[in-house]
Symmetry: C2
Subunit: 212 residues, 2 copies
Amino acid sequence: MANKKIRGVYLVTDRPLCRMHSLAEVVRLAALGGVNLVQLREKETDSREFLELAKHLKEILRPFSIPLLINDRLDICLAAGANGVHLGQSDLPWQDARRILGKDAIIGLSLETKEDYHSLIKTDSHPGLDYLAVSPIFETNTKTNTKPAWGLEGLKWLRTQTKLPIVAIGGIKESNAKDVLDAGADSLAVVSAICSAKDPKLATEILSEKFH
Amino acid sequence: MANKKIRGVYLVTDRPLCRMHSLAEVVRLAALGGVNLVQLREKETDSREFLELAKHLKEILRPFSIPLLINDRLDICLAAGANGVHLGQSDLPWQDARRILGKDAIIGLSLETKEDYHSLIKTDSHPGLDYLAVSPIFETNTKTNTKPAWGLEGLKWLRTQTKLPIVAIGGIKESNAKDVLDAGADSLAVVSAICSAKDPKLATEILSEKFH
């Protein structure tokens, strides 16, 4: 059983951004570099290929006891034996995910706005989630159609509202990582900073050091 | 519990083809017309909306005890309390679906070629499936990128190979329905013949009569 501690560097995959190495190689190198969590995100892939990718990454991460999360697709998570799911605002409700995946699964939810947080706690003041993701913390080109960035002030605000671990994502790099942690994030989620790095292991190590 | 008997008219939904009525209305009218099974197929919809649609159709079909299947997405099936899934060749393997959904779920698989059938029985000579779909039986414009049509001869061949119920899909209409049944199909699956019909109830009744 992978632990549910959400702290450290969180890799969100993006195959088109893996230019220098294959996705599997990026994940292996990030694991060697000390990544805390990996989320497999695939938006255009058919279910069969998505499952094969998930199984392959799970195999790579198992010896490191690094959890693998699946973006959106609970069925891929179940079929691949992954450790949980990351849900966006248009994905299945977290309550369904918890019911279907069970209490040991890691379930995280993206918040795009303060209103998303208010709606979340309206139905349940202590939502059964393992983390909240502030998305995006900074403007970024990786995801399209995102709402305005939260910024450090937005992150600080959310920190005053919740005891759940907070994952920050969007435009995080070495130069701003410390500011994001100081503002209250427990985890730094990155896409291109690792996927597109010449040396994904080194890139992960550099971000990991910010936690020491 | 909906019964697993696969015989009769099988409606596969396609929202863009529902021009005269909403999807919900098409499904309600098809239920009144005696449809045996409904499959919700959505390819571009986000998970949340897909789930809402599935729950809505499930509600419409429950009083009729007509099973609702979900195309591809096991997680939508589980979250909506639908009765099973229809799997294509690029969807999750049926063994995973059976393990995740349990023995009461209806699980069907599309076969696009004779080779698909041979691969299927290679791993398990009695696959734990509730039906096989011959897709497409005739050329059609509804689905893109399909392989050459099976034709009546192909259907007759499959009938000699398997005792599993056979669903035929693709270009089925009143004029060829009897030929398809005579060639060995247990169920006639249609998309536009009901979705685009001026009177979906009547269209369903006309096809249902072919079974008498």
